[in-house]
Amino acid sequence: MSAPVKRLASGVSEGAWVRRTLITIALVFMFLFLVLPLAAVFTEALRKGAGAYLEALREPDAWSAIRLTLITAVIAVPLNLVFGIAAAWCIAKYEFRGKAFLTTLVDLPFSVSPVVAGLIYVLIFGAQGWFGPWLQAHDIKIIFAVPGIVLATIFVTFPFIARELIPLMQAQGNEEEQAAIVLGATGWQTFWYVTLPNIKWGLIYGVILCNARAMGEFGAVSVVSGHIRGQTNTLPLHVEILYNEYQSVAAFAVASLLAILALVTLVIKSVAEWRHEREMKTIAELSPERPVVLKEA
């Protein structure tokens, strides 16, 4: 009885043997290239036991690196968040001349090498740069100091949130916002009560990836930091210094903090994705007469 159904199914899928081979190859590849490096970080960090691991994390230099990394992210992520929302709003909701060009420019920092990103700030604020003499005269340090690190981080993480929001807001169109305005909502109310709930998962996704990159950026920050221990070392730079000093356990211990950050990022990202998919499904299943999602308590 089930023979015709079976034959049709095999027409749009592969035999069990092919299927199993492909899955195995994909999983072996993923294991070698993604799981092993991740596992290596933690085993190397714990090579000399938990004591040595905790010892490495208790170093004052490690603490100042953690602090600087957090400060950088706390400044860079909100700035890029505000920019991302503003850019997505004007690009997704309106038609204007030069829109495609503006979108390309927003993407630009993605394709610029991190090293070049660091270099451009050295050329502007460095001792021989445009503002170098003026900054020196006023005793303001940007390069080889915290402001330079923050600037380079902002550059590198610049497009993350905008990139996430633009396609999302384009797909959702303008109807709901227009309805809100016509019904008398102010611009802010429309954004807060109509747009934001629609884009919240994409927003979280963008923020979390932006944050991971901000905390983990190496190339750009390494050019502008000057590597002053305890002052201008972020966590990734601290990893490099320890590693080059052959303090392998300490280097991997600090690296494991960043690996944990990456894992947390992936978990939050996946949860946001699943929730978004579920909401989309619920909306798709609503009857056309009552196209409203009733909030669960």
Binding site: G11, S13, A26, F29, M30, L32, F33, L34, L36, P37, L38, A40, V41, A86, A87, C90, K93, Y94, E95, F96, L102, T104, L105, V106, D107, L108, S111, V112, S113, V115, V116, L119, I120, V122, I124, F155, N174, E175, E177, Q178, I181, G187, T190, A212, G216, E217, F218, G219, S222, P236, Y243, F252, A255, L258, L261, A262, L263, T265, L266, K269
Partner: protein
């Protein structure tokens, strides 16, 4: 007829009016556009222009000798060769991973799916030192490879490995949604018309995902060319052999050779621009393929 594509509840209003009404209905255009352009200029455009202005302080001879010394040329060869190789490996395995994730069910699929983004989330320096630890002579993988005469850490091959790690999600994440949206009816039709599964794949499925695959390839390639953090730990950084172009820039900066660093950086920037345009063109092509609803 282009304005007709804007569907608005006010479409009863005459068409010549429509564009203006749409603009007036939603507030904040001037504010958001103004802020976007200002922030973009301050963070990206003005700093990047500094690179161009600095280049103009060099004579043509200085510029040329900075970007074409043998050591720099060797670094271009390594950077491009390794990036190309890594992007090609990623194209093959990225397609495979995307295919397996979209078409098959297996235990732990959601975890594997989440793990694909690990290279986006893991700081490059961490990836660099852990890949080095794996592939070094006493590492988990290196201890088996080295007796066989295969040396990966501190060689150009190590650079390729690091770049494969960095580029994988680009291919998977661009191909995956296209595969998800692919219409099964077409495949059924192909099968009904007597095509084998392999013919269906090469003649029906592959052409529809080719633009996405190429986009992913170009993105992985562009990212690989600029990559610094993960590569410098594993490369060994020997001049002429395993020194990548971004490292040349850092090296020149450390010797306070700002002009030389800028010249090489301009070369890299031009390449980034070209790649960005190629990626944009590929994405437009992809939209034409998939984004024409009936």
């Amino acid at each position: 007829m282009s304005a007709a594509s804007i569907s608005s509840p006010l479409s009863a209003v005459g068409r010549p009016m429509q564009r203006r009404t749409t603009r007036r209905v939603l507030p904040g255009f001037n504010l958001t556009l103004g802020f976007t352009v200002l922030y973009l200029s301050l963070i990206v455009l003005i700093p990047l222009s500094a690179l161009v202005f600095k280049t103009f302080t060099l004579t043509l001879d200085q510029f040329w000798s900075a970007i074409s010394s043998p050591r720099v040329l060797a670094s271009y060869r390594l950077t491009f060769g390794a990036s190309l190789l890594a992007a090609m490996v990623n194209m093959v395995f990225g397609l495979l991973v995307a295919w397996v994730l979209v078409r098959y069910d297996f235990f732990g699929k959601k975890i594997v799916d989440a793990l694909v983004d690990l290279p986006f989330a893991l700081p490059t320096a961490v990836a660099g030192i852990s890949l080095t630890a794996l592939l070094a002579g006493n590492g988990w993988v290196g201890q088996y490879l080295e007796p066989m005469g295969i040396k990966l850490a501190f060689t150009p091959a190590g650079v390729v490995i690091a770049l494969i790690f960095i580029g994988l999600p680009f291919v998977v994440r661009t191909v995956q949604p296209v595969l998800e949206d692919a219409e099964k009816e077409l495949e059924e039709a192909a099968t009904c018309l007597g095509a084998t599964r392999w013919q269906t794949f090469t003649r029906v499925i592959f052409p529809s995902i080719a633009p996405a695959l190429l986009t992913g390839f170009a993105m992985a390639f562009a990212r690989a060319i600029g990559e610094y953090g993960s590569v410098i730990f594993i490369a060994g950084n020997m001049p002429m052999i395993s020194e990548i172009t971004p490292l040349i820039i850092v090296g020149k900066l450390e010797q306070y050779d700002y002009a030389g660093a800028t010249a090489v950086a301009v070369v890299m920037l031009v390449i980034s621009f070209v790649l960005l345009l190629v990626i944009n063109a590929l994405q437009a092509w992809q939209r034409r393929f998939t984004g024409a609803p009936a």
